[in-house]
Symmetry: none
Amino acid sequence: MNDPLSRIRIVLSRTSHPGNIGAAARAMKTMGLTRLYLVSPKHLPEEQATAMASGADDVLTAAIVVDTLEEALQGTVLAVAMTARRRDLSAPIAWVRDAAAEAVAATGQGEVAIVFGNETAGLSNQETDLCQRLAMISANSEYSSLNLAAAVQVACYELRLAGLDVGAPPPVHEAGLPASHDEIEGLIGHIEAAAIKSGFLDPAQPKRLIPRVRRLFARAQPEKEEVAILRGLLSSLMDTRYWPK
Amino acid sequence: MNDPLSRIRIVLSRTSHPGNIGAAARAMKTMGLTRLYLVSPKHLPEEQATAMASGADDVLTAAIVVDTLEEALQGTVLAVAMTARRRDLSAPIAWVRDAAAEAVAATGQGEVAIVFGNETAGLSNQETDLCQRLAMISANSEYSSLNLAAAVQVACYELRLAGLDVGAPPPVHEAGLPASHDEIEGLIGHIEAAAIKSGFLDPAQPKRLIPRVRRLFARAQPEKEEVAILRGLLSSLMDTRYWPK
């Protein structure tokens, strides 16, 4: 319930290429955002946009098309203008990660908009003046022009992480059962016996060999089945009667 | 000097659409990455790739094309496989932000690779088996398929932020030097040879034995010296002439 991302509008202003609108819709949907606003796009979403949306046509179909940025921002409590460059009339510029955190927090008060300008010209000063924040994606100063959909992808990614409580651990690893302490000790004993039997380890002068091996397996946290595989291999190697001729 | 991003390879395996290669090159360059490897792309970069690269043609021109993922990973100390889904033989999966931090830290030891699979099929199990880490971009569970270039954009964005962050040296790990990709592959090859020589592994019916071993050592991140110890032990066990009577 109460998904902050459902109160965030992605606003694309004066987009030239329908393909970019479709790709932006896809980028949004992968990150769990669905509310797309289009401010007088050069072409309304059409075949090419749908192709690039690639399964995110629902976002495209539900997009709200308006004539002016004012209309797209009606009812919002915060609008963040994305910019690829510093501006003359420089309001302070936030990094997109910080802006995303602020945007998600502001959804507690109401609707929020993240605004992207035209592919070539970006946002006009009149447009950024309608926004309360400016935000940038950190980029190579010698080549800072992200594709529009790529910028939407990064911004939505940051919104998603800010919106989820990302303390949560990464996807659980449905691995096998971890080997017990005794099983790991059994493996290390087996390695030691093999090392002595083969002459690799002189029990009178053991050096640090077995402690090193123990440290390796402590770090590896082997599973039961992995211990079984290694012990099976050691048994085979130690009993030459069964070696193929 | 000493830019960690200059020691990171972006590896695209079996990419179908040249346009995606171009868009990925652009995504890389905006984030300050330049080293692109292409593993048997369906089509070599061509007109469409160049169009999508849009000013990042230098990255495209300098791309290294190889036949196999092994070749692309030669000489790396860490390879991170990007995956959009959980996997059966699940090595633990990290979020891309954490994986990026680890990747940047590992550039202190040598070259690092971030590996992306085919647009439709992703990476094969054989391909992920060659990598020491799996990483995911957090995404909408009902629609998680980022466009390839969009995934490259997000990963490179996280690498950039992690790389800019690295004023301080990576956490010191008072251990020995980590084994390289090639050294770990050498160890696994040695284990396989020992398993075959002793009759433990039937090469005609290999099952999942070696992939399991590979996964164990990917997790263990062995040090050079540990690899040397295990290989020394295997050599002794395989050559009974030297066994004490």
